[in-house]
Amino acid sequence: MKIKRSNAYSKVTLYVVAAVFIALILLPSFASNNVMERLTVLFIYIIMAAMWNTLAGFGGLISIGQQLFFGLGAYATIRITNMAISPFVALLIAACLVGLLSWPISTFMLRLKAGEFAIGMWVLASIGHLLVNLDPLIQGETGISLIALNQYAIESRRLLIYFAALVSMSGLLLGLFYLLRSKAGIAMQAIRDNEEAADSIGVDAEKVKKWFFIFAAFGTALAGALWLAQASSFQPKTYFSVQWTAYMIFMVLVGGLGRFEGAILGALLFFVVETWFAATGVWYLVGLGAVAMLCSLFFPKGIWGVIETRLSITLIPVGYQVTGLKPDSHSKNK
């Protein structure tokens, strides 16, 4: 008997991922501006979906308030840039600061259970929004623009933001991958399923949850900062809007909750749908709602969940597989 953590598919995946990454690095030399800008948005979506999935899918922490970190990430970027620091450096500092801030927040919020946690986060996001509104620099709902970015030529600016998003996404996904495969990853899933039992076998639930929470806060803040970089205007109402979390929920649940591949697939799908249909206005929104509804009703494990069970493939395995057993008619993916 041996423990296997990869499979034939995942090895292929590794090469594909590497190839895609290289392609994305080379892309700017021949892709159009539009392609690059849209890809930047896609990268940000993937970050957001992956971060929400980290919390909800692997940790069972359903938050309707991730826009708190998204908004704070953008706000902190504005504040730091205002101190005459390059916006691109500010992005990273901002995300780190928000990550730091999420530490005390987690101490409180993680004590809440299920529905209370979800709504509590929403309320917290609302508080964050109202407090940011009080900052004179932000001028209430008026907001402000990141005009410091105008110091870069349009071409190089586009390129920088593209790479910033690409690197952030790759870094966060890689980090998430290792986190999930680590001791903490399996512990988090155990906590999700039964906190008391996890405690009884020596898992420090509080600590593990806290790290996951902070990781997700950091990632989401980075997404917010990147979004600001590519959109330049900051209006509190927009950045602290519950709609961001709605998008995250949409992407993760359509893609596949609690599946590494699911979040990415969901982000891709959302992106494609948005690109193709957003122009249809009301009907696009109706369609989006309907897709979310139908998906949750008919593929509760998300599209990736369906693929996984039908075809028994895992591309990015984070679990453990015992090999050398007699086949059992029941077991999950061989």
Binding site: S32, L130, E141, T142, S145, I154, A231, K237
Partner: protein, 398 residues
Amino acid sequence: AADDDTIRIGFISPRTGPLASFGKTDGFVLTQARQALANGMTVGGKHYQVEIIDRDSQSDPARASQLAKELINQDVDLMLAISTPEVINPVADASEAAGIPFMSTVMPWEAWYYGRGAKPGEESPFKWTYHFGFGAGEFYKTYISQWSLIDTNKKVGVMYPNDADGNAIRAVLAPRLAKAGYTVIDPGAYETGTSDFSSQIALFKREGVDIINSFPIPPDFAAFWRQSAQQGLHRQIKIIQIAKTGLFPSDIEVLGSLGPKIASAAYWHKTFPYTSPLTGLSGEQLADMWETETGEQWTQQLGATLSLLDAGTEALKQANDPLSRTAVRDAISQLNVTTIGGQVDFTSGPVPNVASGPIIGAQWVKGTGQFKLDYVITENVTDPNVPVTHKLLQYNTK
């Protein structure tokens, strides 16, 4: 633009979502504009086709910003955006970043200029983006003129929310009103979405204000004014002057018997004595066409949208080369034309990149025609060409 004889104009407005009442008439106005441009236009002796690519921001600033990028990447030669900071500012930022000539209207210019990071007294940070229309200065003139029409104790209770417009107005208007001899009673900026205004109402009652001046979004105003009535405040008020809400008849109709005699200020009115250079329509003609086509009452947004298209096409006409971004930008910076909404003059704005426009004192009164309410003009300091047709009625008389 890619092929040499098509000029592309990007146009972004809120057609759906919470701000949709602003964008309601846009489809109609765009049809008029497209008809007028069906045969293209001739600039500098060369004939061009003109294509207007319109997009719906769905009232979502994030989406507005994405749409702007999409249009920029479709090589628009001129970007237009209209109605509220939520739509205009993100599109302006995207255009500024990409170096695309941009023009907008219908929001106080202070929120546009300072709200996007410009600092008073410093050089304008904007090279590509321009805005025309009213600002706090016009509101000041209009209000002074409007409020002097009725004898009051000159005590004004103000309700300015903590948002773009509210802050811009508070900063500029309040000190000037004080200087002009008004006592400003300001309970402080409140947060949009507040549903109980008892503390403000109590203050206004205690201070015995005769005038109320407010800038809330429509649901907030409805809540505030109904609550004021419940607490008897409405009986003491001689002038209730609102802005931002009460722009469209439906905002006032929902107030029922509390609606008539609310004073407002209009950035456009169908009696404006101008014709659209683009379509050749007068204000009355435009409003009538809308009413016959849809059966609904005209709104001031009809003229505002058309004036933006007027100004945009005029700028293109005056550019040396309408397909050159710098040429179009230079044309805008020198623009001085009369649109259906009045004069747009970028050569003498209050700050660079801005041309000021009128805001005319008006009042909602019981309808005499087919609609429940009529919108009538009561003063005209900011554009004396506009005829004053009615006398301002005191709110608390029968």
